[in-house]
């Protein structure tokens, strides 16, 4: 198959699949519920939001290492005929990967209603620095870098940010703009954990974790669940909520995906390989994107992805964010839910849920006025990436 034939086949998937239901639990740092309970709570909400019964689900993609396997969905939801299941082991890029897999499954007729779901309770358990070393994709870090002192994701990613600063003059003030704008979005979201406004001075005064990352550059450790249901665009029409369908979607992985140390360029991540494919498939330009939900495990990771997505050239991300375009009322409000930095760390599933909310057009005070085309990204493990461009029908 030639490249153009492949592009034609992808184009045939444009606007064929939709997110018809979304659900989230309360996000907190002290849930008394297990990861599995949180996952099922979010799942039932998403199924109900889709106007479906749990018996209607015939595809399941559980997200994250605390995810229940497909068999647990069969017994708990009473699914009599599960026709599709998959595991997408790419950390925070798994939600976009699952959306892609679900879209293909429903568009091809393999399944009709695919549930993508996640739940985690990490506040009472091991911190991220211990959890990653249980994951097979981190085996090189565990063997060669952990004993050196590279224990947590922050320490693996910090050299990427430092390199970017040294090469391009990016500053901590650029990171602060992302932290501050994201927090301001969270202030307006009742289901966000961090709702006290912050300033750039607060960012500069927050304690250094691992240079250049200060505390306010880092995402939260949180408990909760998030889920969505994918079906065909045709089936999703005339449901409870306006249609929100997938225009373009792609995944991409950086070189040396399981060792940042050995990666040729430290300043680019997997979404760089996916972005143009998704934009071409969607048949939209960057200037068409009215709202963005960009995976934000660290402030720098947002800046890097904005470049890799093509919103600005490599190295220009610092200047790009400083005009306030990511803020409420800006030209591309970003992480309107408060993201992983200030709403909750729900593996980017909350980014997909928020994008659907925005494109339904009824988000109240958080609504980006008139938003009908938006974008969500995922970033997983050491830079696996995904991007989805979606369209809401509420504006015509």
């Amino acid at each position: 198959m030639t490249k153009s034939e492949a592009a034609e086949r992808r184009a045939a998937l444009r606007a064929q699949a939709a997110v018809v239901g979304i659900g989230e639990t309360e996000y907190s740092r002290n849930s008394s519920k297990s990861a599995m309970e949180l996952q099922f709570e979010a799942s039932l909400k998403a199924i109900d939001d889709a106007g479906l019964s749990p018996h209607d689900i015939d595809g399941v993609i559980p997200i994250g290492i605390t995810g229940a396997p497909a068999e647990d969905y069969i017994i708990n939801l009473g699914i009599s005929d599960l026709r599709f299941s998959a595991l997408i082991p790419h950390g925070g890029a798994s939600g976009i990967g699952a959306l892609q897999a679900a879209a293909v499954a429903v568009a091809s007729g393999i399944a009709t209603n695919v549930l993508v779901t996640s739940g985690r309770n990490v506040s009472s358990g091991a911190r991220a620095g211990a959890r990653i070393h249980q994951m097979p994709q981190f085996h090189l870090v565990t063997e060669f870098e952990r004993e050196v002192g590279a224990i947590a994701p922050a320490q693996l990613y910090a050299p990427m940010a430092r390199r970017h600063m040294e090469l391009y003059g990016t500053t901590s003030a650029n990171f602060a703009e992302i932290a501050v704008s994201t927090r301001d979005h969270a202030v307006h979201n009742p289901n966000a954990i961090m709702r006290k406004p912050i300033t750039a001075d607060d960012h500069a005064a927050s304690r250094m974790i691992t240079d250049p990352f200060r505390l306010l550059d880092c995402s939260l450790e949180s408990d909760g669940g998030a889920a969505f249901v994918v079906t065909t665009s045709e089936q999703a029409r005339d449901r409870r909520h306006p249609l929100v369908e997938i225009l373009g979607i792609a995944m991409g992985h950086p070189d040396s995906p399981n060792s940042i140390t050995q990666r040729g360029s430290l300043t680019s991540v997997g979404v760089a390989k996916a972005a143009q494919i998704a934009f071409d498939m969607a048949q939209v330009d960057h200037s068409d994107i009215q709202v963005a939900e960009i995976y934000d495990c660290f402030t720098y990771v947002v800046l890097c992805q904005l470049e890799d997505l093509g919103f600005c050239a490599k190295g220009e991300g610092g200047d790009f964010v400083m005009d306030g375009k990511l803020r409420r009322g800006g030209s591309m409000p970003t992480n309107t839910h408060g993201g992983l930095l200030s709403q909750a760390h729900m593996l980017g599933m909350n980014h997909i849920v928020e994008l659907v909310r925005q494109l339904r057009g009824a988000e109240g005070i958080r609504q980006v006025p008139g938003a009908s085309i938006g974008l969500a990204t995922g970033y997983g493990d050491m830079g696996d990436g995904g991007v989805a461009i979606m369209r809401g029908a509420h504006n015509g």
Partner: protein
Amino acid sequence: MANASGPLDSISQAYWDGVARNELVVQKCSDCGRLRHYPQVLCPACHSFQLTHVSLSKAGTVHSWTVSEHSFDKEIAPDVPYTLVTVDMQEGIRILGRFDSAGLPTMGESVSLSFEPNINSTLIPVFRPAGAL
């Protein structure tokens, strides 16, 4: 000496044996000559399974770094703050090590490598500015 044993330690045994001798030992493809690190099964260029091991110079230049001030693990608390440095080795692979110097590293700074015990007595890569003892 201690080795973070894992399912793949058979392919990394030569590296750890080298570390115990204070040598940097990496894989080299027997067919196309490409160096690779960390250890892996196939040559990504020619897909040969055949490999030898070579001992590299211990000279490199700083590619990036981070100074960790937060203790991510109680075992490492006595070391905090410490500097992790990503180094381009002369022959082309990279090594992540500790940076042992009074100052911060700088981009492109020449450094030299030795393997020294960490707080758990595991030998880890340690870099110092070239010429320093």
